[in-house]
Structure formats: C-alpha cells, structure tokens
Amino acid sequence: MKYISEFRDGDVAQRLSEAIHRETRPERAYHFMEFCGGHTHAISRYGLTDLLPSNVKMIHGPGCPVCVLPIGRVDQAIRLALEEEVILCTYGDCLRVPASNGLSLMKAKAQGGDIRMVYSSTDAVTLAQKNPDKHVVFFAIGFETTTPPTAVALKQAAMLGLKNFSVLCCHVLTPPAMTAILDAPEKIAIDGFVGPAHVSTIIGSRPYEIFADQYGKPVVIAGFEPLDVMQAIRMLIHQVNEGRSEVENEFTRAVDRDGNRKAQGIVAEVLELRDEFEWRGLGTLAHSALKIRDEFAEFDAEKRFDIAYVAVADHKACECGTILRGLKQPQECKLFGTVCTPENPIGSCMVSSEGACAAHFTYGRFKDV
C-alpha cells in the first residue's frame, strides 16, 4: 500500500533504532509524551519501545477521544436514545464506553434504544432524510480531525432544511489539553512531545509554537506509521541534546504550518468555543471544546432536548484519570486485565484500540509476564 508499507519497513526501523542508540546520551533520561492515541497504538503495535534505549521513556498522552469523554456525556446520549426515543448514531468507538448504571450505548441498544453505528457524519444526515418521522441525533466526538466532518454535516442539514436532525457536539481541542498536562499541579517529567498527525493536518503546526516558545518543550509532529514515530523521537532527542525547543515537522507530506484553512473555515462558520468542558482525567478545562453556534441552534441536541450535562465520577478503582495525565501506566491499575478487558471495559482507556490500556492489553502485556 503506497504511503503506508514504505513507512513500516523493519530494516529501516532497525537502522533508525541504531541511530537513536548512537545519538542518545547515556548520562541522562529522556521523557517524551506522545499526545495522540494513534501514536500510542503504533508504539504498542510495532513494539517501538523495544527499539529505544532504556533511558528513552514514552508517556502516553490524553489524545484518545473516546478515553477523554466523561461518563456524563455518554449518559446524555443514552438519555436521548432511551427517554427521547431518537435514532442516536455515532462512531463505533463510542458504543462500548461505560456510562452510568452499568450502561453503555451498546447495552442501551439491547434495552431497545435505536442506536446505530455510522462510518461518517454524512450517513447520519442520510438517516435523517430517510426517517422523516423520527428525530436523528449524531453524537459527535473527537479532536480537530473529526470536527470538520461534523461541521459539514451541520451545514448540509441546514441546506436541506432538515427538521429532524441534531448533533450532540462533544468535540474537543488538542492545545488546551497539552496546556492542562503542562500546568497540572502533579508535575510529570516531559522533555518534549510527539505532536499529532491527523489533527495537525487540520490545525497546522502553528498552534504548538506556544509549547516550544513559552514552555520550552520541543514538539515534533509525526505521522502515525512506525518509522514516522521513530524519526520524530530521534528529532526530539536531537533537540534535547542541543538545548533547543522548537516545533519541527516530520509529517511534511501532509502537514504545514497553516493546516487546512478550508476545513478551519467551515468549522468556524458552524462551531464556536465552549466556555468550559469536562474531560475525563483532566477535569473541567476552560475553552477546550466546541459548541454549535446560535445560528445553528435548531441542530443543537443540547438545546432541543432536556438533557443537561451532569458530571459523574469514574469507577473508584479505575486509573483512567491518572493514565490520561501521564502519571501511571496501564499495568499499574488494579483492574487492568483482570476485571477490565477490551471485552468488558470498566474504564474508557480500555475501549478504543488507541486507548493506552487497550493498546497495552492487545500488544504489550505479555512482556511483563
């Protein structure tokens, strides 16, 4: 597969590994956070930590949309399906996220809720067109990558004059989450970030400049293939060795400084900043998520239905919160691999393949046995 296979070449990975070993200073430790779940997944799937020297540590970041979605948001979606009797559609990853009362969207479906998995936001609009007698809600989650398709769907719905379509908008933003990690009272050692791949195709590399300039943290944007991640780690090591903190871009084949301005424009037309939004693990963060603009209020499920957001605490033994803040590793959670498994997730990090717990369960857990 062009642009995929050549970025997974094992021989090149070996040579990159050798270069990294050569260039790493043995007298110091390097701690890098990969912000994105996509990178977490690649690191686990391809065993990249085994290719790194022991003094280069990767810390999983909070960039997994399903993982940072708090219980209260899934509860809202379930209420829409069970109490308001809408057709609730969402991406597959959302269906198994544990919610209140032992429910998930999947279990709510078993209870009779009309809950459907869609591949694309467009499918949700089509569903509304085909079911004029039912109200269709698209439960929209995700970072900046997934936001523009939601904005397009909202514009489509407005253009078609749909009266039976709305969106439960839970889109979140990457830079405020990075700020939250760096400003957290419980400081963790981070010498630099592997910056998002596909988020950056939309927002560009400019929004990370504050982390290099003001926080003194190098950021290297990397593609999601294993060689991309290895090369980005290598570039971070160079920056640390040379005492630099800059935003560099390994993923030049898809990312530039400005990002996709057309997509940014469409998003800005339809969505605006929320005052605050609760994240799982990171707490309530100001200006960290998006809501639907007043001009599109008729398509805002939170305005159309009585589903006020209620915060719900996580399972008390679940370590998702500390894992999302980079403080703990999945295997340090008592529930990991015992009661909490991908088949029966207790915490959100065990749900999606890019969640730190699911990635470690699937690919890394036998190393520690």
């Binding site: 597969m1 970025f7 949309p65 290598r234 898809a254 997509a263 890019e354």
Partner: protein, 80 residues
C-alpha cells in the same frame, strides 16, 4: 478515532465527491474539506472525508532520509 489512511483518487464525482481506491477497495468519499483535487492524487481519508492532499515530493524526501540513514552513520540527516 483519528486514524486515517492515504488513498488514491480514481474518479471525481458530482457534489464534491470522489471515488478512492486502497489496495483494490473502492469507496466514495467527500471532498468538501479540500480544494484542487485531481484524479491520481493521494488524499488522507478519515470518516469518509479527505482531510488533506498528500504531497508526494515531501513523502519522497522523508523516505530518502530513511534510505540514507545508516549508510554513512551520520547524524545530520534530520528533517527541519
């Protein structure tokens, strides 16, 4: 969730849509988020939308860096 794959545009269709192909699998996607896409271009596909065009020259440059790696054992071949 943010996973997306590069696929080649093989046909432009009405309504800002295109047919893309990846290893023999064909799918109609939306081009609503990108401009100036032509047949033969590679686009990064995510939830049914092309997010961006892939720049073949930049991809070749990155691969060239990998190819040179280890040959000289040098540390200078980094992207900046």
């Amino acid at each position: 969730m943010c996973l997306a794959i590069p696929a080649q545009v093989i046909e432009l269709r009405e309504g800002d849509k295109a047919l893309v192909e990846l290893s023999g699998v064909k799918k109609e996607i939306s081009l609503a988020l990108v401009d100036h896409v032509a047949v033969g271009d590679y686009v990064i596909v995510h939830v049914g939308y092309a997010l961006n065009k892939l720049d073949p020259e930049e991809a070749a440059k990155t691969l060239q860096l990998f190819a040179e790696l280890g040959a000289a054992g040098d540390s200078d071949n980094l992207l900046h």
